[in-house]
């Protein structure tokens, strides 16, 4: 009895969490334009989506920015973690605090500050500014996922590699880096997802005529909601979901080996 109740309870929670998205997904396959009527199953909105050049270019921008910003943030974040490990405890906790603040800061504040910074430095808005902003807010997420791995690292393994004749570079790439890989990988995926997902910061730092998927949807919606947008939102949701599952599952798989 209690077991059945538990299941109903968790079922309700999941229902309320996912019902809106479920509705959206169902509507994206609705042949009728009306939101309240089911006109039969169709892929035509998906087809229409991929014929729309503006949306395709926004998709390309989104992917490019997500990939490049995740790569850059992963590199910078990992190097930062290594550097912080060598610091004294006080400096280290101060540095960790500083890197954590952007994550807690309201996105709109980050967005506006970045915009003001670019204006005052005279940087032209465009893909470049979006990329810079995304790298900025992605670095903390990489640090957050690499740092715990770094702490688990046995400092003696590095010394053991040196002791066995390896140079500093060899020891790092053959012994330290493989141990960090799961953390680096999940940091990269997290950064990728965050960048894919972002609207507010992108909205403030993009130039005129440059759009990512999220800003594109926003402009389209202002003109009136088209069913293509349901299709697009569904694709974004599924992609993010897949990436998040990957992030959560990848370290465990490594561990089991």
């Amino acid at each position: 009895m209690t077991n059945a109740l538990k299941k109903i309870y968790i079922g309700l929670i999941i229902f309320f969490l996912y019902a809106p998205i479920g509705t959206l997904m169902v509507l994206s396959f609705n042949a009728s334009k009306a939101r309240t009527k089911w006109g039969g199953f169709t892929f035509k909105w998906y087809a229409a989506l991929f014929e729309n050049e503006e949306i395709l270019s926004a998709l390309f921008n989104t992917m490019l920015i997500a990939l490049l910003s995740a790569l850059a943030a992963t590199l910078i974040g990992t190097v930062a973690c290594i550097a912080m490990t060598g610091m004294k405890r006080r400096t280290k906790s101060i540095m960790m605090g500083i890197t954590n603040i952007p994550m807690l800061n309201a996105e709109i504040v980050t967005g506006i500050s970045l915009m003001l910074l670019y204006i005052s430095l005279g940087i032209k808005f465009g893909i470049g500014t979006i990329l810079l902003s995304h790298i900025t807010f992605n670095i903390p997420y990489v640090i957050l996922s690499v740092m715990p791995r770094m702490k688990q690292l046995n400092p003696s393994t590095y010394e053991a590699a040196l002791d066995l004749g390896a140079s500093h570079t060899t020891a790092f790439f053959k012994v330290v880096l493989p141990d960090l890989t799961p953390g680096i990988l999940s940091g990269f995926l997290m950064a990728f997802t965050m960048s894919l997902d972002d609207f507010i910061i992108t909205h403030f730092t993009k130039g005129i005529g440059v759009d990512t998927l999220s800003t594109k949807i926003y402009t389209e919606v202002k003109k009136g909601i088209k069913p293509e947008m349901y299709a697009l939102s569904t694709i974004i949701f599924v992609t993010v979901l897949a990436l998040l599952l990957l992030v959560n599952l990848s370290p465990e798989k490594k561990e089991q080996k």
Binding site: N154, T157, E159, A160, D163, L164, G165, A166, K257
Partner: protein, 357 residues
Amino acid sequence: MPKELIHLNNLSKSFDGQMVLDELNLKIHENEFVTLLGPSGCGKTTTLRILGGFAVPDAGQVIFDGKDITHVPPNLRPLNTVFQKYALFTHMTIAENIAFGLKIKKKSKAYIQDKIKYALKLVNLEGYGNRMPDSLSGGQQQRIAIARAIVNEPKVLLLDEPLGALDLKLRQEMQYELIRMKNELGITFVYVTHDQEEALTMSDTIVVMNQGYIQQIGSPESIYNEPENAFVADFIGDSNIIPATMVEDKLVSILGFRFPCVDTGFGRNRPVDVVIRPEDVELVAPSEGTLQGVVSHLIFKGVHYEMEVMAGGFEWLVHSTVLHPVGEEVGIRVDPFNIQIMNKPESEDEEAVAIDI
């Protein structure tokens, strides 16, 4: 005497203004099993790290086979280290772990295969080559760490408390294993531990350290039987350390009672410390003892009873196979040969007995 291999010459090292080693001098010979023994913070691990190349002394030199290697990086030293927490590479198989050093030295595949086989056999883990380190027990991982070090044919193997994380039974087993391996390999072992029993069992030479100074260097027998100061006496096994006065040659006054002893050359009426091991205190009938006392505590320890006897204002620690119940009046007698006379500590560093243990 075998050839001198390592000479630590006047090593000094401090961290954040705190002196860890103070003008340490030590000679290590070929094929010797040397143990650096002392409480934590005594500088033994720092000494080992300087030997391995992981720390650079503030002053002094490390001379290896006649050459100064003080500033040679660890990857170019003819020594290998077995680390405290094994430090195996967890993403590599056992065989890959053992092959690591040989691959860097670009040895042939056949040579590496032979070496892996030989090393696994030496540490009694044949057939474990394809396993991952995580699937091995602590004792097995420790053996792999040793195998990984010795395939490189170092002239000296440095071991940093390698048995610290193992349980008692396994530790005793590994002690015999280490002695066997050392004899089979014919190389020098420098071993760091805070466990006096480990040191006594395995070493040719024990170096007792405290607060950055060497307190005594000697064979296990001489360290145990003839400690030079109160620190060594207290650190190596249980002992009764009692302030006394050397009345004249071969006669010492302990707690006001005169005991014949065998030591000479301390002068007349000189204050000294005496060390008497608990197993050397004989409990006899009150009338036969040099002084009389009452048993105040009694514990059964398996091999013997441990008793405390209040006599002459001092609580004597006594090990005996004969039971004397609490409250019994006994006499205390000590064979002259079993009284070890020590000079009172002259320097501060010898006085750390009470603080560290």
